[in-house]
Amino acid sequence: MKLPVDLGKVAQARDLAIAITRPLQAYFADHSTITIERAVLRLYGIDGVDEDEVPWPNRVVEQLAASGRLDRGAAIALGQAVLASGRDPQEAAEALASGIIPPDDSPESCGEARDWARSMARRKLDELMAFRARRREMRAALGAGPTPWKYVIVATGNIHEDVPQAQLAARQGADVVAVIRSTGQSLLDYVPFGHTTFGTGGTYATGANFKLMRQALDELGAEMGRYVQLTNYASGLCMPEITVLAAQEGLDMLLNDALYGVLFRDINIYRTLTDQHFSRLLNAACGILINTGEDNYLTTADAFEEGHTVLSSQFINERFALDAGMAENLMGLGHAFEMNPGTEDGLLYEIAMAQLVRQVFPDSPIKWMPPTKHVTGNVFWTYAHNTLYNLVGVLTDQTIELLGMLTEAVHTPFASDRYLALKNADYVFNYARHLQDEITWNPDGRIAQRSRQVLDEAVALLEEVADEGLVKAIGRGVFAGVKRPADGGKGLEGVFVRHSTYLNPFEDLLRAGQAAIAQRVVQPEATP
């Protein structure tokens, strides 16, 4: 079943997305951020915390900033420290952070350090790619289950409590487990260290927590003969570092939106956009499937009136991802079932939107989000709401379905909430498995009309954004009704202009490896 979709309009939208994102590509080439530099250090294997629990990557970057050398990039300084001290990178980094190794700006020292940084980056990246390849093999051998993939969250705050809950959810049939982060982590300008047991509304994303959960799900996957995907959140002030940790610890997906942090966490737009570019270069290389956060627009703004903002933003997120060398099959573009349940024919409009997104991005594993906005503490009503959400999900062939919890808006999910959610989804997906093959849409009907309207409005909005520029448009509040000025928000002080001798060898290697994808879609073809 296909809705009639104007392919000319879709191609126009993609051209506009290129016009919108192009000026920012130049910005990314000239700038870096403190968290990108910390991510570089983490890619070299720098980890751990000092006696005050400050991560060593933060200590190194603070030292470089204090001595005025950060704009050359952390890679050169690390290389100099290693070569001057003869120690391994971790020890050298600690010495560098402590100011034991004095700066040396001689061309010889810098030149040797650049060579070290490049060859070590190649080695570290080769190791990482080999690790990711082994994971892909394991996943292919076990199989990841039919779509829609059932995605559930655990959020106890304590990783040792999360693990059995995640295993239980996986046994109950969950295909994807997300560990929700502790409230406020997105605004921390460092990544906490070690196993954590005290999060609120979620558990801190740390390398150690990732490792523990990955291992638990791998063991269970092997026992069940079914691969369980693990995801976390690479948004906020440490987006690139979370991406590195996720890559190193074998996560399959990451929430990684270009604009989410700007709109919903009031992070500065230049900070988040610069961070997302480097994050996505790495996600693309590691085969980490990203989920974008357009669903959130509909929790703030009205889902009927603002449906087109979701589609417009998806075109922009798609373009930013392509520019970072990410292929469509790694782009879990997000949207949601958030129409007011009192709307007459609301179900038809939900189907229209879901089917439109499915057809406009045919190769993308679309991320479909459950009702939250109109959910109250009435758990019985929420369960009814979620049943229709599941029906639209299977009808319109969504790829990743975050299952609605009947206690949404009440507390973090109980084990029994996930059980009931999975039971609901299994029932609906099985009971209506091939419904989509049986349906032909009325070309003049409400669903087709609604999808035309959304596409037309999305193109009109993209034209506006292209005219005034993305940064200005966001300052005016075009997405989710949230206004964020260019110089406002958190983290702008962590963005800096690259010196002419700046080096980030990981970025250079990743970009070279993925140039083909970014090139290929400079002039994208219309969707077949």
């Binding site: 239980l168 046994r171 109950q172 409230t183 406020g184 605004l187 609120t200 509304g201 919903f264 009031d266 959130n296 929790t299 703030t300 939250t372 906005k373 109109h374 959910v375 109250t376 503490g377 808006a409 109980f414 084990a415 029994s416 059980y419 009931l420 989710a480 009704g481 949230v482």
Partner: protein, 252 residues
Amino acid sequence: MSLVKQPDLTHVLPYGDTLDDGKVQFSFSLPVPAGPEAAEAARRVLLQMGLKDPLLVAMEEMGPSTTFFVLYGTVTRGVDYANIHVPKAEFEHLDMHEIDDLVERELGRELVVVGACPGSDAHTVGIDAIMNMKGFAGHYGLERYRQIRAINLGAQVPPETLVARAIEEGADAVLASVVVTQKDLHITTLTQLVEIMEAEGVRGRMLAIVGGPRMTHELATELGFDAGFGPGSFAEDVAAFVAQELIRRQSR
């Protein structure tokens, strides 16, 4: 005389299908495998709660050694509804548009509200739910209000910084959100906040409001705040209170 039985408000019981039948519905899970012992354990959970006649209607094993139950039970001790008095902030409940219209009509200017999680509390979930555009559970936050300029300073804001910013912005109200209540940390911070407002001489012209999962209006007023909002409060409750309280004070 009506044949329809009326509830005795000094002895109110849960209502199933017959007045005063005391019927209550339960669902929970136990970390044990399904079976006759599990069923008995679930029934005993209700018995220990003081319920009579526990009736197990569903027992589903939801994983190894974890079982989900649905049960019904009967409550026999009624509640004296007639003599319940809950202190609460006095205001008329309005929606966002009504509040905007009221402020425009009665005050003729924008309200300024400055909020934060004061002290060491790093949990912005509450202040974000009330202030951020996105709001919470379908209730828009104060940033969304046409007639309110809402400034959310976020987490871990020293009380003095919060008050200084409120003065700088000419705030009508200060909002404090406290989530962490271990060792009564919130009491110390909130007391400090009110003391600083008094020391700065702004307590008379600025409303002080506090919210949090363990907050009640009663506790808030004891600490010297104008209002306290607990779980289930939304931006429109805070906004309606602030608007109406300012209008009341203006007309005095």
